[in-house]
Symmetry: C2
Subunit: 271 residues, 2 copies
């Protein structure tokens, strides 16, 4: 079996995609990883499709210049809106997105009803529903934007009554007759799993987390393509961000589950 020791590139609008990195490192510790968080322009979720595509191409171009073997789009907003554009622009690099992974994970459960929760842009794109229905049009798909969840997670309020109030605000339409699957279509949302579980306690609802699904999907993809790194202990990690606000390290720790050892601030080519 041949190996490919080039790094895996991952990008997100901000630091939420570090939840995907954490899962990836568990599954494939030998892979080198290069992460880019566009913290200067985060969040993408309330921006227009046109700008989301423009930002995504700049993010991917940065990783391509670093010589990655594949790019994981850890941002649900980007993977709902800009995958075709990225495919056109970067023909020679494998690109996988958190959306495709989330959709596959849901379909594997053979559920008849799925609720997709995400940012305004992700839900408005309707991409999760379209991709689910492309495979199985019989599944009932409900999509609900939950725009306060991201700031609540970023403020570390996941165990505060305010997160329960926000869950109630957005998800009360599902309470009476919960779907079989609740798909967390945003990398921030796994941190709210406890509040979500509590809200639907006693129902058969199962939570599918697109970040974990994405890491699993990337692992399968790499295995199938035969481009795994050779087993050489722990792979390297490099973290790049476009801005380092005061809360940066605290946020990174929240999503990665441990301290960032090192990171570099970069400017993207924004022409």
């Amino acid at each position: 079996m041949k190996n490919d020791n080039r790094p895996i590139g991952i990008f997100d609008s901000g630091l939420g995609g570090l939840t995907v990195v954490a899962s990836l490192k568990n599954l494939m510790p030998s892979e080198d990883i290069i992460y880019l968080g566009d913290t200067a322009r985060v969040p993408y979720g309330d921006k227009s499709p046109e700008n989301i595509c423009r930002f995504a191409v700049q993010d991917a171009a940065f990783l391509a210049r670093k010589g990655v073997k594949m790019i994981i789009v850890a941002c649900n907003t980007v993977s709902s809106i800009a995958m075709d554009k990225l495919g056109e622009k970067f023909k020679d690099i494998h690109i996988v997105g958190v959306l495709e992974a989330g959709v596959r994970a849901c379909l594997a459960e053979k559920a008849s009803s799925i609720a997709v929760i995400g940012t305004n842009a992700t839900v408005k794109s309707d991409a999760y529903r379209r991709n689910i229905h492309a495979v199985n049009p019989a599944v009932k798909v409900t999509s609900i934007p939950c725009p306060l969840f991201v700031p609540i997670v970023e403020e570390g309020l996941v165990q505060h009554p305010i997160s329960d109030a926000a869950v109630e605000l957005y998800l009360s339409p599902l309470k009476k007759n919960p779907p079989e699957i609740l798909l967390l279509a945003c990398t921030h949302y796994p941190l709210l799993q406890e509040a979500l579980r509590k809200y639907f306690e006693g129902s058969r609802l199962k939570i599918v987390d697109s970040a974990t699904a994405c890491a699993k999907f990337a692992e399968e993809f790499i295995r199938e393509k035969g481009i795994s790194a050779s087993e050489h202990g722990n792979g390297s990690e490099r973290y790049f961000v476009t801005d380092m606000p005061a809360s940066f390290l605290r946020q990174a720790k929240r999503f990665l589950g441990r301290e960032l050892d090192s990171f570099e601030k970069v400017s993207l080519d924004t022409n």
Copy 2:
């Protein structure tokens, strides 16, 4: 008396600065106004001082190219961090900021205690406290970041229990012994005035809104400098934004208090 019929330029990170435009139009209906909202990179409040300065210079340069007679910095984050930088770069244009206006309005009240509430970046800059203490070091100044207030306002949840929960979360340290003045150091916060008033009902606390203060300050400034527009009925309004997400018009109406007649999407020179 001479007149200056060039337009007034106003910019903000997003659409919150439209609250300043609404006040300005009430006070000086004859003035032409050019507004720029950097909606592609909003919010600024969680970004680094370095990037906030860079963005602010790009925003001001755009207005300068439009031939404005003065620039009003309607963004509290920018006016807490980037005023020196803007002064250096745009020596020939009058620049006034919402911070200076807010500080003056507070000091005019002769209060002995002031609580300043704003974004993370505004509070971290400590600029309101420094500017208040530069004039009167005896005033007790408390500064509290309230990062959830912006998304709550943008979601239109100002009369939802979630806004009461957020007010409680951030302002409970003030409840027992409220300050004489609560300074709203963010253009979004005036929309939360009702929840804030309710929370401090029965106390002598007075709310000072930096957006209204900014419009009054700009009016005085223009009068003093003798650069008012000639009285010719309603001045023109032009609105520029760097992105037009789906929620754009709804948000604009929320802050301006009426529909936007027209607007143009522009790219800033981001080199």
